[in-house]
Symmetry: C2
Subunit: 349 residues, 2 copies
């Protein structure tokens, strides 16, 4: 790993906790990860560290209901300026501390796709209790072809290995059954390809079902962005609903209350163990440079982790090594095709 | 509701708890729901009630790895004989107390699709904590067209109203965002149709996200069988994982153990409140007669509930009233098409 100082562009416009919180995260990342930060946001932000350069960009398009239009209409917006710094090689990666929709739209627009990539995919580390895994795509593409699923598999595996530190990531396709014949025609075809030449160099373990998603059968789970978005949100919703039900029974009676009080520290520890801030948030894979999109609610710690993730992806040459893996599997895009349409970018998963 | 005695055909071959347990469920249903039961299974079964007629059908294909082939090859199999009784109008509905795969294959094969239906869909009542809802399709069709999603909406609404007793069921499409523009092209088109003429008579409330699926936004949630199967299993898996984690923290320390002991009765009550046996299991909608597929693990109570569901669907003329609703929305299949291919039937969701 290179020790050269690396610059990450960070958009502070529109973060739930405010730009000053993002700035604190940037300062923390500078110290923890040895990076420099270009911070785009309101100019009143005092630079919180000599390694953080604040660039005046008071216009935020974080709340715009039409991110694609807003990105086109406002080149001065903080997120567009941050993306532009990456596109022009003034920074090695992007962290959006603001709203996800505009960040994805701007990045897909202005940071070129990496060579040989069909479409970028949004990947999110799911902080499951005992078996965290990377899920992609979770919303960048609602409709995908088998060759795109194959690329997602390689992109996710490279990310899990180089950035998340999983030694030989087990890669699976999300399907409605474990047998290779299960799934939509596209999933079945992707399975065939990944079990064949396209899976070269990949630790492809076949299909995984929704039931065992959290049970640790795979480190990287691949699907189209529609299914991935639904699966991710169903996990979040179910988890919140079950925890809410446990909380309710623990306050419904005197006996329950006593039990709840005794259990509270352990339950809090359990909740902390699945803290998504520790993982830095979602990442858009398949562009020339890493783009990390922490959740809008993240505080200093989450922002710092996101910057660390972007720096690690850049230092490990994620893009180049993903290209090598795709090439080994004969899974690079061969003919030129229409450029990725930001119109299909979905909101924050 | 007619008080005429109604006959339900029940397959006892291959139930996890054995044919005798299914027979007890049949006797219970005869009493509770005023039905007669044709019970297909091993002839050694003593008829447990004068209203239960045991028909000797010792061959079970419940464990056959290729249900479609097995159904074709073994007309004497218990499930095929039970289906045949329904197809020949000797029974008004089917309950499969055995394995789901063969039941679906045999039913789709031999019980005709209801007039004007594109494809049958598998619907399951999800026993969410405070807001149960009906989810369909959960696995009968991995690939669907917009006009099929429209039919699923009407089929699910009629079932929720007539059989589950929901007064004016709110029907939603499962998607990756609430806006009408969100989803695959097929989901977007189905949304347009349901918001227009095809939604006539329907209480269509738009899209629902995975996050709010369990939060009570809809009584009937419609999607393709791939997405529905993944969503259902992710719910089950997440719920089990979270409850397992709670159990673990409640046994990891003396303090936790004490708390867990105090909470145990309330947690058990919570678990019982989401008992799937109470709801009778999944149902295959869109055939001429109701087909109910309780989970293989169901006991007497679940089997009896399933028989009750089939009887209610028959008495309420679910098929006829679904047809009327589809007709009002101009959503009936117009041209003849290839018959539903049982080859695409998936296993138990």
């Amino acid at each position: 790993m290179s020790a050269a100082p690396l610059t990450i562009a960070v958009d502070a416009g529109g973060a739930d906790l405010g730009a000053a919180e993002v700035a604190r995260g940037a300062a923390r990342a500078a110290q923890e990860h040895g990076v420099r930060v270009l911070l785009f946001g309101d100019g009143d932000l005092a630079a919180p560290s000599p390694d953080v350069q604040v660039i005046d960009a008071p216009r935020s398009i974080a709340k715009d209901p039409d991110p694609v239009r807003a990105v086109r209409a406002h080149p001065d917006a903080s997120v567009v300026q941050a993306v532009q710094a990456v596109a022009e090689d003034r920074a090695a990666g992007l962290v959006s501390g603001g709203s996800t929709g505009p960040a994805l739209a701007a990045a897909i627009f202005r940071i070129k796709r990496a060579s040989g990539i069909h479409r970028p995919a949004l990947a999110i580390p799911v902080p499951a209790f005992e078996h965290p895994f990377l899920l992609l795509d979770v919303g960048a593409n609602v409709d995908v072809r088998p060759e795109q699923l194959v690329q997602f598999a390689h992109m996710g595996a490279a990310y899990a290995q180089l950035v998340l530190g999983v030694e030989r990531p087990r890669v699976a396709l999300l399907s409605n059954g474990e047998e290779p014949s299960k799934g939509t025609p596209d999933v079945v075809e992707a399975h065939e390809r990944l079990a064949g030449e396209a899976g070269t160099g990949l630790n492809f373990v076949g299909n995984v079902e929704g039931l065992s998603l959290l049970a640790g059968g795979a480190d990287v789970v691949v699907c189209d962005g529609f299914t991935g978005n639904v699966a991710l949100k169903v996990m979040e919703g179910t988890s919140a609903t079950v925890m809410g039900a446990v909380r309710r029974v623990a306050t419904a009676s005197a006996r329950g209350k006593a039990g709840g009080l005794l259990l509270r520290p352990a339950l809090r520890e359990m909740r902390d163990s699945i803290d998504p801030e520790a993982h830095g948030g979602a990442v858009l894979l398949g562009l020339r440079k890493p783009v990390v999109v922490p959740h809008g609610s993240f505080g200093e710690r989450g922002i710092a982790a996101a910057i660390g993730i972007a720096a690690r992806a850049a230092r490990e040459d994620l893009t180049g090594r993903t290209h090598t893996a795709l090439s080994a599997g004969g899974a690079l895009r061969r003919r030129p095709e229409a450029s990725a349409a930001p119109g299909s970018v979905s909101d924050r998963p």
